[in-house]
């Protein structure tokens, strides 16, 4: 049952100076759905995600989460909405000055609701969910490999069991084996939490493993949206070229023309 709209975007515009990035984006994400936003580099996928989170202010348009408008919302409203989110950033974005357990428990720590021992125990349990051992608890991000950083980032995103999960290029910079592990962990986490998920990616293997639905951004607009299954047989020439990674086609001509 996916009738409730969790995230709704209407007529969203965003430019940086004369560079028009998003021009009239419309998108609905239903409760419990896992959607992947695909598109070539620089097409504004991450900008869209940051607009929903309120990290970037769009020029115009609307983005609602559970019916609450996030564009132009007050700080308090934004904070209330952000509590529903867990976010895995492209590079992990772990805090360099904090050990792993404090990174994972950062939000809890600010609330002062649990003792240090309790926080460490929750961190240990969350680490187990992403297949990391207790021994990494006291390591610092600089002491971790790229794959481990992504897993700790994922642990931080799911630590307080959010209803919405955002993943920004979760497998970028990782080898295929580690990418596969991360994809599986993400899918498991989304299923276990029953969360609504939005993944930004141009790694089609990742999209196939994580997502149910796919939307493609091209030339500042969402040009196609459908299921992962439909994606494989789509006859839209741009989507077809991108999904199958073909070296020639309309995307190549478009890239050469700009």
């Amino acid at each position: 049952m996916m009738s409730d709209i969790k995230i709704q975007i209407r007529n969203l515009y965003k430019s940086f100076g004369s560079n028009k990035v998003l021009q009239g984006i419309d998108l609905d994400v239903h409760d419990g759905q896992s959607i992947a936003i695909i598109g070539a580099s620089g097409t504004g996928k991450s900008v869209l995600l940051k607009c929903i989170l309120g990290l970037i202010k769009p020029d115009s348009g609307s983005a609602t989460v559970d019916g609450i408008e996030t564009v132009g919302a007050s700080r308090q409203t934004r904070e209330d909405v952000l509590r529903k989110f867990g976010m895995l950033f492209q590079g992990g974005a772990l805090f360099d000055s904090l050990p792993v357990w404090e990174n994972i428990m950062f939000r809890f720590r600010q609330n002062n609701a649990l003792s240090i021992d309790e926080l460490r125990q929750v961190a240990t349990d969350t680490l187990a969910d992403v297949l990391l051992e207790e021994r990494v608890l006291d390591l610092y991000p600089a002491e971790l490999s790229g794959g481990m950083q992504k897993r700790v980032g994922l642990a931080r995103a799911i630590a307080d069991k959010p209803g919405i999960l955002f993943f920004d290029e979760p497998t970028s910079g990782l080898d295929p084996i580690t990418s596969g592990v991360i994809n599986r962990l993400i899918r498991n986490a989304v299923d276990r939490l029953g969360a609504t998920a939005m993944t930004i990616s141009h790694d089609m293997n990742s999209v196939r493993q994580i997502a149910d639905q796919v939307a493609m951004i091209h030339d500042r607009h969402i040009i196609w949206q459908g299921s992962v299954k439909d994606m494989e047989t789509v006859d839209h020439p741009v989507v077809h070229q991108f999904v199958h990674g073909l070296p020639t086609g309309p995307l190549t001509k478009y890239a050469e023309s700009i």
């Binding site: 989170l53 976010m87 950033f89 805090f95 600010q110």
Partner: protein, 259 residues
């Protein structure tokens, strides 16, 4: 008309930067006085700024005291025979009123302002600041306010210790190289020194500490992308801190001593 475009654009860019900096300072002050205060962050910054800057500030003020003692002796010798008293007075007044706070400010700008800009700039380019935001923590409150509080609190203490070390440096030169009597030198040090001189030096130090922290945080927070952006932020933080320290030194001195 094209001739006017370049200065016009530069003026607009400068005004825009001043506006952005003013907003940043306003926000920083706003969040300074609102809970929650991040005690661990404040303590970490106090240790970084206060404790770890002590050697560099101590060395600088000590050698400055020694140089002032030598220079004032060779200078006053040309027109006055009362070198012992005047050297001590010149050393203590210059150190407490002027060189103590200015040198400490410049040293801390080089050491801490640059580090703040680099750390916050790196956090910006690696999305750590956005991550803070998504974890319902206000970056201005978590990152900026503790640094500004620590900078403003620590500089006066550093300067106070630097003043004592600087005067000691002058004493060492005066007694062991110039052959002055220790008791005469010490009485010369205290005779003309007023509490007002020290207090003005400490007020200057607090202002300089605020400037260093704000500029480090501001340029780091608005750092451009990549290593080049962080590098430029670091350079700007030090350069603008140094310029503002000298400007405000003049302004405060003008208000305090010119009647």
């Amino acid at each position: 008309m094209q001739v006017l475009q370049i200065p016009g654009r530069a003026a607009l860019s400068m005004l825009s930067e001043i506006g952005r900096l003013s907003l940043f300072i306003g926000q920083a002050i706003f969040w300074l006085v609102r809970p929650p205060w991040y005690g661990r962050q404040i303590l970490r910054q106090i240790i970084d700024i206060g404790y770890f800057s002590l050697p560099v500030v101590g060395l600088t003020t000590m050698f400055s005291g020694m140089v002032i003692a030598l220079q004032s002796y060779t200078g006053t010798e040309r027109f006055s025979a009362e070198g012992e008293t005047s050297v001590a007075t010149v050393v203590v007044l210059i150190i407490t009123r002027e060189l103590g706070p200015v040198l400490a400010g410049l040293m801390v700008a080089g050491r801490i302002g640059a580090a703040m800009a680099a750390e916050i700039g790196t956090m910006r380019v690696t999305d750590q600041i956005d991550a803070l935001d998504t974890l319902s923590t206000r970056p201005m409150q978590y990152l900026i306010a503790p640094r500004v509080i620590a900078g403003t609190i620590c500089l006066p203490f550093l300067v106070l210790i630097g003043d004592i070390i600087g005067v000691f440096g002058g004493y060492v030169i005066a007694v062991y190289q110039l052959g002055f009597s220790p008791s005469v030198y010490l009485s010369g040090t205290l005779e003309y020194l007023e509490a007002f001189d020290v207090i003005i030096g400490l007020i200057k130090a607090a202002v300089f500490g605020f400037i260093v922290a704000i500029m480090g945080c501001y340029f780091g927070y608005h750092s451009g992308r990549g290593a080049e952006g962080v590098g430029r932020a670091t350079t700007n933080a030090v350069v603008y801190s140094a310029i503002l320290i000298l400007v405000f030194d003049f302004v405060i001195t003008g208000f305090a001593f010119v009647r």
